[in-house]
């Protein structure tokens, strides 16, 4: 993204590249900061599920840094980046769903009637917060859209 911004030839392209650079910078910060935040709040546990956001950080940071600073055109970079962003979207949705279900399991089991489900939506594990990864994935996909 940075090389594309530096090489932008006209005002419209420069505006597009500025948009992409800012969004990719936010994405980069998110991939760097969320694992720190999750570590601080004690998300790193013995279970595999609790490690998923940390595992996603590895390709997430790598491809985001590569696309941001180096190259966004090579097929392997685009494929890896886009696949990671889709994984991030998927992880966010699944994370939100399982946070909700596990909140219910801690109380009276999974039951989908309104008052109970909403009470556990507000439960120990934040449902909406998990979907930050979905937001990040969509940001990444939008940033690389038609960017060659």
């Amino acid at each position: 993204m940075i090389p594309a911004l530096l090489g932008a030839q006209d005002a419209t392209v420069r505006r597009i590249e500025w948009l992409r650079v800012v969004m990719m910078f936010l994405l980069l910060m998110s991939f760097a900061m969320y694992p720190i935040e999750l570590f601080i709040i004690g998300h790193w546990l013995d279970s595999f599920e609790s490690l998923i956001p940390f595992i996603l950080t590895v390709p997430g940071l790598f491809f985001t840094i590569w696309v941001f600073f180096v190259d966004r055109s090579s097929t392997w970079v685009r494929t890896g980046f886009i696949a990671t962003m889709w994984a991030s979207i998927f992880v966010g949705v699944l994370g939100g769903y399982y946070h909700w279900v596990w909140n219910m399991n801690d109380i009276d089991g999974v039951q989908w009637y309104w008052s109970y489900a909403m009470a556990e939506f507000h439960g120990f594990r934040p449902v909406l917060a998990a979907m930050a990864y979905t937001y990040m994935g969509i940001t990444g996909l939008a940033s690389i859209y038609r960017a060659r």
Binding site: D10, I16, W18, L19, M23, E37, G42, A142
Partner: protein, 148 residues
């Protein structure tokens, strides 16, 4: 913004207005989402600072929604300025969280160990407050990249 998108003539203008529209949607969704999230986590208390994220949502969401239908300077400039303010709100929120955590823990922020202890207190997440910086930055870059 809708009109700019529909009136875009060149390929670059189409990409630019599409990305702006997309990220404007993010900004609108962010104000709505963070409003809900803060309510879910019981952020609405008696104190004025605890209500700031809600005031940000109440002002930011209508301004952002208005931008979908008109980018006249009477809307565009209040919107753009408010996005800059939202960035400030996020930074101030992170600082407030840090100061309040330090107060609760009885540590000084003028020592490294005190800062670390206040930063890692999960009760008021310091980095999470920066979500408003994210939403403000996304909104701001849309406002600043609009073509006259």
């Amino acid at each position: 913004m809708f009109e700019r998108w529909m009136n875009a003539e060149t390929e670059n203008q189409k990409v630019l207005t599409f990305l702006q529209l997309f990220f404007l949607l993010f900004t609108a969704f962010g104000f709505f989402y963070f409003g809900v999230e803060h309510w879910v986590i019981d952020h609405w208390l008696d104190s004025f600072p605890s209500r700031i994220p809600f005031y940000a949502a109440v002002i930011g969401l209508p301004l952002t929604l208005a931008m979908f239908f008109t980018t006249h300077k009477a809307v565009r400039w209040p919107y753009t300025i408010f996005m800059a303010i939202t960035i400030g709100v996020g930074l101030a929120g992170a600082l407030f969280h840090l100061v309040y955590n330090a107060g609760d823990a009885g540590v000084s922020l003028f020592t490294i160990s005190g800062i670390f202890e206040a930063f890692t207190d999960p009760f008021r997440p310091v980095l999470a407050a920066l979500a408003h910086v994210n939403i403000g930055a996304v909104g701001l870059v849309v406002g600043l990249t609009l073509e006259d």
